[in-house]
Amino acid sequence: MSASTKPHPVKKGCMASIRRMHRDGKLAPIFIFLPPALVLFTIFVIWPILNAANFSMYKWSGYGELTNFVGADNFRRLLRHSIFHQSLWNSWKLILASLFLQIPLAMAMALLIYRKTSVNTAFRLIFFAPYILAEVATGLIWSFIFDGDYGVTAQITRFFGMDQLYILADKRYAFLTIITVIVWKYFGYHMMIFIAALQSVPSDLLEAAEIDGASPWRIIWHVKLPLISHAIKLSAFFAIVGALQVFDIILPLTNGGPSNSTHSLVSYLYYFGLVQLNVGYGSAVGVCLFFLCVITAFGYKRLAIGKGAGL
C-alpha cells in the first residue's frame, strides 16, 4: 500500500531533468538534431541487423519469398563446419598478430620518429603511405610481388638460381603472408596515433626524468608509455575490430585458398553466403560476427579501459 502511494523517484528525476533541459534550452536541439541521425542509424544499421537475424532462420537463396523456416539449423551447420572453425581461428590469429606484432612495431617506429624533424616527417610519410592504398589495390600489388611465375618473387628466385617459389599456393605460408601484408599496411596508421600522443607528452616531465638520471629505456617504460596509455588502448581497439573485419585484402591475394585455408570470418561469409547464393546461411554467419563484435567492444571497454578511464 505504502509502495503504491510513494512517488516514483526515477520518474520524478526524469521529468525534472527534462524540465531542466527545456529551461536551459537543450531540449530543442535534441528534437531537431537527434531524429535525422536516429532515422538514418535505424535504416542503415538497426534494420539490416534485424533483417539478417530474420533471414538467418530461413533456408533462402535470396530469390523469392522467405518460406522455408529452418529455425536454428543454419547456426548448427555453421558450428559443425570445419571451414568456419578455420576462419574463426584465422580471425583470432589476425587479432593476435595485430596486437602483438603490429602495435609493438608501430610503437617502436613512433618512438624513433615522433620528434619534429624533416627526416622524421619523410619517414612518417613513407610508413603511413601503405595505409592510404585501397585494400583491393594492396592485395593485387602483393599478389604480383608473390607471383612465382612473373612477379618479383620469380625475379629473385631466378636471380639466385633457386627453384620457383609459390608462397600463396602453399597452405603453410599463405596465411602468414596475409598477416605480413596486413601488418605492413596498417602499422603506419597506429604509428600516427602514437606519434600524436607522444608529441603531447609534457616535455618538463621528460626533462625531470632525465635530470633524475633515468635511462632512455626507463623513460619510455615509466614515463612515455603510461602517459600515452589512452592512445594504446584506442589503437588496440581499432586493431581488434579491424582484424575481425578483414576481407578485401584476402580476395585478391588468395581468394580464401588454397583449399579454403585462408578465409577470415567476413570472406567466409561472402563465399559461403553470397557466392553460393545461400543468403540464410550467410546471414547466420553475419549474426555470429555481429555478436563477436559486440562482445569484443563491450568486453574491451570493461576489461581494458576500466572504470573512469576514457579512450
Partner: protein, 419 residues
C-alpha cells in the same frame, strides 16, 4: 504581342521536344563482363545498329564482373531497378529464378518462325517446366586443347588419345620428358572442374548426373560418383599441373599456356585469341594449338560423343518492356550470329550460322557440339549454386590431396541435401 507569340512558339517547341524524349523507350540489359574486348564491342555495336533502325528505342548495357553480377542479381531482381533482361549461364540458378516468378514467360510471345531458327539445345537451355523464359545466344564446348610442339617433343600423338587411360599415359610421358602436362587456374577452382565435370559425364552419363541430383541411388554419394573422384585422382597422382597452380587464376593460366609452359589446357575455343593476348609475347602458341575431344572412360555410362560446356543467353524479367524481346531477337538474328561466329566470339546457336566460323578448329568444336547426343551444362551451373560450388571445391581439394574420392562424393551429397 510579338513577345507573346515568341513565347508560345518556344513553349510549343519545348512541349514537342519533351514528348519526343518521353516517347523514347530505354531497354536495360545487365551482362557479366565479357571474356574478350571484342565481345563487349560486338554487343555495343549491335545495340547501336538496333537503335539506328528503331529510333524510339534506346538500349543500355551494364557490365559487372562475374562475382558482383551473381551477388547483386538476387537483390536487383526484387527491386524496381531491375533490368529488362540479363545474361544467364542457364541451369540450376535459372530454374531458381524462374521458380520465384521474377521472369517473363515468353513462350507465346515469340512466334514459331523465330523459335525455329534456334538449335533445340538452345531453346531447352532457356526453358523451365516446358515454358520459355529467354533467348539463347551461344553455346560453349570444353575440349582439351594442346600445344603440338610440346607433344611432339615428348613423342605423344594426340590422335592416339581416345580413352582416359591414353590421356593419363600421355601425361606420364610428358612428365617424364620434363614437360608440364597440364596448365590449370586452380585459384579460381572451377577450371579444375573442367576435368572433374567431363569425367562425371563420361562415367555417370547425363542421365546419371540428373538422377544423382534428384537424390536417387544415394544421390552423389554413390559408387559411380566415387569412381569419378578416383579417376581424377589417377590424374592428380601424376602431378600433372604446373608448379604453384593453386595460386594461378584462370586468366594467368591461359597466359602460361600461351607462353608454352604446359601441354594441355581444358577450355573453350576462345583460347585461340586468349592464349595470344595473355601471353608474354602477345603472340601465344599460334598454329601449334589444337584440341582433342574429352577422352572416353572405359566402362562409363556416358556416350563418348557427349559434350560438356555452357548454353548461354538472355533471360527477360517479369515486367520488361515489350521492346526487350524485339532487341534480343535482333541481337540473335542470322546476320548477327554469323558476324559473331566470324569474329570467333562464340559458337552461334542459330541453325546454319556455323558457316560464319572462320577458324577450322572452331568449326570442328562446333561440329562436335552439333553431333553430340547430349550437351551437359557446366556442373556449377547445372546443379545450382550450392552443389555447383561444392563440386568445384572437391575438385580443387582432390587435386591437392586434401580429401579422398569417398569424402569428395560425401561432400557433394551433403551440399545436395542442404540445398
Amino acid at each position: 504581342m510579338r513577345g507573346l507569340l515568341h513565347g508560345a512558339v518556344l513553349a510549343l517547341a519545348m512541349f514537342v521536344t519533351a514528348n519526343a524524349f518521353a516517347a523514347e523507350t530505354v531497354v536495360k540489359i545487365l551482362d557479366h563482363e565479357p571474356t574478350t574486348r571484342e565481345e563487349r564491342d560486338f554487343l555495343l555495336r549491335v545495340a547501336k545498329n538496333f537503335e539506328a533502325a528503331n529510333p524510339t528505342i534506346k538500349v543500355e548495357f551494364d557490365f559487372l564482373d562475374d562475382t558482383s553480377f551473381k551477388a547483386k542479381l538476387p537483390t536487383l531482381l526484387q527491386s524496381p531497378e531491375r533490368p529488362d533482361a540479363f545474361f544467364t549461364w542457364t541451369g540450376g540458378v535459372f530454374y531458381e529464378q524462374a521458380e520465384t516468378g521474377m521472369l517473363r514467360d515468353i513462350t507465346d510471345e515469340m512466334d514459331a518462325k523465330t523459335k525455329s531458327r534456334y538449335a533445340t539445345i538452345g531453346l531447352d537451355g532457356l526453358s523451365y517446366k516446358g515454358r520459355l523464359y529467354g533467348v539463347p545466344m551461344y553455346a560453349t564446348n570444353i575440349p582439351i586443347w594442346y600445344n603440338r610442339e610440346l607433344l611432339d617433343k615428348a613423342k605423344v600423338d594426340p590422335a592416339s588419345i581416345k580413352t582416359w587411360d591414353d590421356f593419363l599415359a600421355a601425361c606420364t610421358k610428358l612428365k617424364n620428358a620434363g614437360i608440364t602436362p597440364i596448365v590449370i587456374g586452380g585459384k579460381d577452382k572451377w577450371p579444375i572442374a573442367f576435368f572433374f565435370g567431363p569425367l562425371a559425364l563420361r562415367i555417370l552419363g547425363m542421365d546419371g548426373i540428373n538422377a544423382a541430383n534428384r537424390g536417387e541411388n544415394g544421390g552423389f554419394d554413390n559408387a559411380e560418383f566415387i569412381k569419378v573422384g578416383r579417376e581424377f585422382k589417377r590424374l592428380v597422382d601424376i602431378q600433372p599441373f604446373q608448379p604453384g597452380y593453386m595460386d594461378t587464376g584462370f586468366h594467368k593460366s591461359v597466359g602460361l599456356f600461351g607462353d608454352g609452359i604446359g601441354a594441355f589446357l581444358p577450355i573453350a575455343h576462345y583460347v585461340i585469341d586468349m592464349n595470344a593476348k595473355n601471353s608474354t609475347s602477345g603472340k601465344g602458341i599460334g598454329d601449334k594449338l589444337d584440341f582433342i575431344p574429352f577422352p572416353a572412360v572405359t566402362g562409363g555410362k556416358g556416350d563418348p560423343g557427349d559434350t560438356f560446356g555452357g548454353i548461354n543467353g538472355w533471360l527477360i524479367t517479369k515486367n520488361a518492356k515489350p521492346e526487350t524481346l524485339k532487341f534480343l531477337e535482333f541481337l540473335t538474328n542470322e546476320e548477327n550470329q554469323l558476324e559473331s561466329g566470324r569474329l570467333n566470339l562464340w559458337l552461334p546457336i542459330v541453325k546454319g550460322t556455323q558457316s560464319g566460323l572462320q577458324d577450322p578448329r572452331v568449326r570442328r568444336v562446333a561440329e562436335l557440339l552439333e553431333k553430340a547426343p547430349h550437351h551437359q551444362l557446366y556442373l556449377d551451373q547445372a546443379l545450382g549454386a550450392i552443389v555447383g560450388t561444392a563440386v568445384n571445391d572437391v575438385a580443387a581439394e582432390l587435386s591437392t590431396g586434401e580429401i579422398t574420392p569417398e569424402e569428395a562424393a560425401a561432400n557433394v551429397e551433403e551440399a545436395r541435401q542442404i540445398r
